[in-house]
């Protein structure tokens, strides 16, 4: 099926939870909803599922409005962050329950339960009740139940948030593949930019109930159309630096540098430059860069990379560097702003220039 949201808004009391959202989700597509807590991800999913009714706008499935159609008739499966299972039923019966409700025959149920259990590594636990399982196993039970349902629309609301990260790594690869095979529209909500990038597909960034951009995930990341989208799609946080363009130069803090490619036609005046943490350099890059001095407020070393938190003129910056970078707290260090990594926004915070860089990865996914 194809799911279309047309100018959908949802008001609860005086609060606007969803503001004028229009999206088209194609059959068999993987769609990520990316945004912080309370940005509207869950509200949007509830509208898609038919659990809530939009205040205005329309929701269409294969061209027909489904507003008002009860959720039971919609062929929807939903998995929440908090695993929800029937506590008194065994894992087997938990997975089987939607098929029993749908009146499937016993042999079909058995075959599909066992296949789903096998995929989700639940075979040894089929006879246990959920409370005797670890969190990861409980969540996999909930996912297996969604899988056997053959839903046309699968909604996963931060499904991996409560799991340990090696398990997340594994399921993040598995989930799109499992549901991809069913041809369903797959919608996955997350607060984490890294997770969106790892999932791939298409991403809609959300901020305060609005979809700020929708497109191929890596494109939204590389060319965010506005500053809010760029910030939503950056973890660690984006470094935001006000600069002034004058005659082919960008000025910051009494220092100037040749404005990067793509800014030639821009009028002189103030701009906002956003720099991702891995483009804020602590070593002088090969090309020209703006050099400023910042104070180190703390360092975090992960073994392969270091996060160096800095303060400069009242702003907090973070640099992400390769390898181990030892600097003492309080040290004044040179920091290089490399124009090759500048995302340039105008006074209305619309993107006007981004690094030419890489186009989207060629389709090498097997």
């Amino acid at each position: 099926m194809t799911l279309v949201l047309q100018n959908v808004s949802k008001q609860v009391g005086v609060e606007e939870h969803i503001r004028d959202v229009s999206l088209t989700l194609e059959k068999g597509s993987l769609n990520v909803l990316l945004g912080p807590t309370l940005s509207g991800k869950t509200s949007l999913m509830r509208l898609m599922a038919g659990l809530d009714r939009p205040t205005s706008g329309d929701i269409l499935v294969d061209g027909k409005s489904v507003v008002g159609m009860p959720v039971q008739r919609r062929q929807v499966a939903m998995v929440y962050q908090q695993f929800i299972n029937y506590p008194t039923l065994s894992v087997y019966d938990n997975i089987a329950s939607p098929m029993r409700v749908a009146g499937a025959d016993k042999a079909t149920i058995d075959r599909k339960v066992r296949a789903a259990a096998e995929l989700l590594k639940l075979t040894p636990y089929l006879e246990r009740t959920p409370l005797n399982l670890s969190g990861g196993q409980q969540q996999r039970t909930a996912i297996a139940r969604a899988l056997v349902k053959d839903a046309k629309l699968v909604l996963l609301d931060e499904p991996l948030a409560n799991l340990d990260y090696k398990l997340r790594e594994e399921l993040r690869v598995e989930l799109p593949r499992l549901f991809g095979e069913t041809g369903a529209v797959f919608v996955y909500a997350t607060t984490e930019p890294q997770e969106a990038l790892l999932l791939g597909g298409r991403t809609a960034t959300l901020a305060e109930g609005r979809v700020t951009q929708f497109g191929t995930t890596i494109d939204v990341y590389s060319r965010p159309t506005d500053l809010t989208t760029a910030q939503t799609f950056s973890d660690p946080p984006l470094n935001v630096v006000p600069m002034v363009k004058a005659g082919g130069q960008l000025r910051y803090d009494d220092k100037t540098i040749a404005a990067p490619a793509g800014t030639e036609s821009l009028a002189d005046g103030p701009y906002t430059v956003a720099i991702r943490p891995h483009h804020l350099m602590l070593h002088r890059p090969a090309g020209a860069a703006l050099e400023v001095t910042a104070a180190v407020s703390t360092t975090e070393i992960t073994g392969s990379e270091s996060f160096v938190h800095l303060e400069h003129g009242g702003s907090r910056w973070v640099a992400l560097t390769h390898g181990v970078h030892r600097v003492e707290v309080g040290d004044k260090v040179p920091v290089y702003l490399d124009p090759a990594g500048f995302l340039v926004f105008d006074a209305q915070q619309r993107l006007v220039a981004a690094p030419a860089g890489q186009s989207a990865a060629p389709g090498m996914r097997a």
Partner: protein, 361 residues
């Protein structure tokens, strides 16, 4: 603040443990330095919570002794140990103000009133909560409440250690950054001995001076983040630290020669003859790709199955003789359609029965 000695500690939840497998925590013999920041890291069921409970006094170990400096505290109750603990969910008194919450442990210990005022205002300042001092705790956000839990430990100047049990679980991702940074700064300023339990590698590595990696009840490595990354002592550490984890493949090693993927690679070091499972490990970050057939002697025949462009780097998923083999390439790298993998022999780690073998020069 105290040095913590784990003197041959082991624990079983069974009354009469017989075999090694009966122990939820296998023998650990280690000294943790006064003022150190330690993280206990491992998947659920690895024994990290058991160890934390032994340190906090909720559990008396089946074997061994626990010392704070020179005092044996093995059998002391939690309240006799002078430790502070911050749990997964913030524990605050909703009806008290922020300042009253912070003063509470001091009032209980009958500290003079002006001393309490002094310490509470210092803690409020440290935690950036001064403007909320007289607000009821009820209306605060999760991260503010968690700061109060931490603050109740900070006001007690004589605590032996501050223990953290997955303290950032309920905190929003962007607030995690801030809270972690503040915690780190506090540790640097006041030098409390801190022990932090987590299953999240980033939290453990960024917080701790030393990370204690646990797996199936065993401490498999204690090291700095760098050591865990560069020199994993156990294949589990290679897998668990790093995302994606280390590539680990079966191989043959004879003297200073490694045979892998039909290629012979000269290692920088010599290895003894090994019976049993011999594996080689290499981190995806240390793998480079060259067009197939090119690349120096280290070129390994791989089949690329997928490329994930995640912005600041690319993850190349490949197969080498039926085993998965990943490479992490810098932003903007080209991936040859027909590729071979090039590795620096110095980055190859040899494992015998899952444990690192260092070899000789």
């Amino acid at each position: 603040m105290a040095k913590i000695t784990l003197d041959k500690i082991a624990h079983s939840y069974l009354p009469y443990p017989k075999t090694d497998a009966d122990f939820a925590l296998k023998e650990i013999d280690h000294v943790w330095e006064d003022g150190g920041a330690y993280a206990l890291l491992g998947p659920s069921g690895c024994g990290k919570t058991t160890l934390l409970n032994i340190i906090s006094g909720l559990l008396v170990p089946s074997l061994g002794n626990l010392l704070f400096d020179k005092q044996d505290v093995t059998h002391l109750a939690p309240e006799q140990r002078n430790i502070a603990e911050v749990f997964q969910f913030p524990v605050v008194y909703d009806t008290m103000t922020v300042a009253e919450n912070l003063a509470f442990p001091l009032v209980n210990r009958r500290i003079p009133r002006d001393e309490i005022t002094k310490r509470v205002s210092a803690a409020l300042d440290m935690l950036d909560l001064t403007d909320k001092a007289n607000r009821k705790a009820q209306g605060l956000t999760a991260d503010e409440k968690q700061k109060i839990s931490l603050g109740r430990g900070l006001v007690r100047y004589d605590v032996n250690a501050i223990l953290f049990d997955e303290p950032l679980t309920v905190i929003d991702p962007h607030m995690k950054w801030q809270l972690r940074t503040e915690l780190k700064a506090l540790h640097r300023r006041f030098g409390h001995t801190m022990i932090y339990v987590t299953h999240d590698q980033t939290e453990a590595l960024t917080f701790a001076d030393k990370v204690v990696v646990m797996y199936e009840g065993e401490v498999v490595q204690i090291g700095t983040p760098e050591e865990l990354f560069d020199d994993p002592a156990h294949t589990f550490v290679g897998y668990f630290i790093g995302s994606p984890g280390m590539n680990v493949l079966p191989c043959d090693v004879a003297g200073d020669k490694l045979t892998l993927g039909g290629r012979e690679i000269t290692l920088g070091r010599r290895y003894p003859k090994m019976s049993g499972k011999t594996e080689v490990g290499v981190r995806p970050e240390f793998v480079r790709l060259a067009p197939a057939g090119q690349g120096a002697a280290g070129g390994l025949p791989i089949t690329v199955t997928a490329v994930e462009d995640i912005g600041r780097f690319k993850i190349v998923r490949a197969q080498l003789q039926g085993h998965s083999f990943d490479a992490v390439l810098p932003e903007g790298s080209e991936v040859p359609a027909e590729a071979s993998a090039v590795v620096d022999p110095a980055r190859l780690k040899i494992y015998h029965d899952s444990h690192l073998v260092r070899g000789t020069a």
